[in-house]
Subunit: 197 residues, 2 copies
C-alpha cells in the first residue's frame, strides 16, 4: 500500500514526459515521427506509452488537447492586458508563428484515423472562444474596427497559419502578410471613406 | 490519305472533350473521381483516354495546365482594363472563388504521383506573373499601396483560396475575409499615420 503513491506520481510524470516528447516529435512531422521514436526519446518502453495511450490516435489527440489548452490559457491571461489592441494583434501573430507544429500534429492525427469531434476539437473550440474574447476587447477600445466578426477573423487566422506552416513561406513574407491583414482590421474605415470623398 | 485530316480533327476533339470532362470530374473531388468516370462521361473508351494521356497523372497535369493557362489569359485581358484597381481586386476575388476545383485537381495530381516541377508548375508560375503585372498596374494608379510586393500578396491569395476551398467556409465569411485584406491593401497608410497622430 505504501508503494502506491510514488507509483502514481511516476505514472503522472511518465504521462507528461510522453506527451511533451510526442509534441516535439510529431510537431516536426516527417517520416521518422512514430510512437516508437516517442518511447525511445521519453526513455520508457513502448508498453508504457500504450498503457497511457492505447492508440497512436489517442496519443496525438492528447498532444493536440495539451497544445490548444496551453494557447487558450495564454489568451485568457491576455484578457487582463493593459493594451487590449496589442494583446489581440500579438496573440494573432503568436498563433500564426506557432502553427506549423500544431498542423503537423493535426495531420498525423487525421492519418492515424482520429475523428473530428474528439477532445481536440473541443479544445480547439475553447481556443477559438478565447480569441473571440480578445477580439471583442480590442474592438471595445477601438483598436479593431467594429464591423468585423469572429468568423472572418478566425478564417484569416487559420488561412495565414496554414500558409505559414508551409515550408517555403519565408518569415519576412509571413510578417508582411500579417501587416496587410492588421491594417485591414484597423478601425479607420470612416476616416478612409471621408478621405476618399 | 484522304481520311487523315478528319481523324486528326476527331482526335483533337476527343482530347479536348476528355480534358473538359476531367476538369469537371476531378474538380468536384471525392471518391468517385476516376479515369473510368472521365471516359464514361466523355463517351470514349478508356483506351482512348490512355492514348491521349498515358497515366492518370498526365491527365491531371494537362487539366491543371489548361486551368492555369485560362486564368492567366483572363488576367492578361485585364492588363488593358480601364480601371486597373478594380481589375486587380476583381481578379483576386475571382481566383479565390475559383480555387476549390483547382485545389481538388492539384491534390488528385499529388496523390497520383505527379511531380512539383512539371508543366502545371510552369503554368502556375505564368499565372503568378500575370497577377504580379495586375498588382503593379493597380499600384501605378494608386489603387493599391506601393509598399507591398507580390510574395506577400500572392501568399494571401493562396491562403484565402485554400481557406475558401474548405467545405465549411461560407461564401459570406469568405467575402468579409477578402474585405479585410482589400482594405489592408488600400493606399492610405500615410493618411492613416496622420490620423493616428
Amino acid at each position: 500500500m505504501g508503494g502506491r503513491r510514488p507509483q502514481r506520481a511516476d505514472a503522472r510524470t511518465n504521462r507528461e514526459r510522453i506527451l511533451n516528447v510526442a509534441e516535439e516529435v510529431f510537431g516536426k512531422g516527417g517520416q521518422s515521427a512514430s510512437t516508437e521514436e516517442v518511447a525511445r526519446l521519453a526513455n520508457v518502453g513502448i508498453a508504457t506509452v500504450f498503457r497511457h495511450f492505447p492508440t497512436k490516435a489517442a496519443l496525438l489527440e492528447a498532444v493536440l488537447v495539451q497544445r490548444f489548452d496551453r494557447l487558450r490559457e495564454q489568451a485568457e491571461t491576455l484578457f487582463h492586458a493593459p493594451d487590449p489592441g496589442a494583446a489581440f494583434f500579438d496573440f494573432f501573430s503568436h498563433l500564426v508563428a506557432d502553427a506549423a507544429g500544431k498542423i503537423a500534429i493535426a495531420e498525423a492525427l487525421f492519418e492515424a484515423g482520429g475523428d473530428h469531434d474528439g477532445d481536440a476539437a473541443q479544445a480547439s473550440d475553447g481556443l477559438r472562444r478565447a480569441v473571440g474574447a480578445l477580439l471583442q476587447h480590442a474592438q471595445r477600445v477601438g483598436a479593431v474596427r467594429d464591423d468585423v466578426e469572429l468568423p472572418e477573423v478566425y478564417a484569416l487566422l487559420v488561412a495565414t497559419s496554414r500558409a505559414s506552416a508551409r515550408a517555403h513561406l519565408e518569415e519576412e513574407v509571413r510578417d508582411r502578410m500579417l501587416t496587410i491583414i492588421f491594417d485591414g482590421l484597423a478601425p479607420l474605415r470612416n476616416a478612409r471613406a471621408q478621405l476618399k470623398t
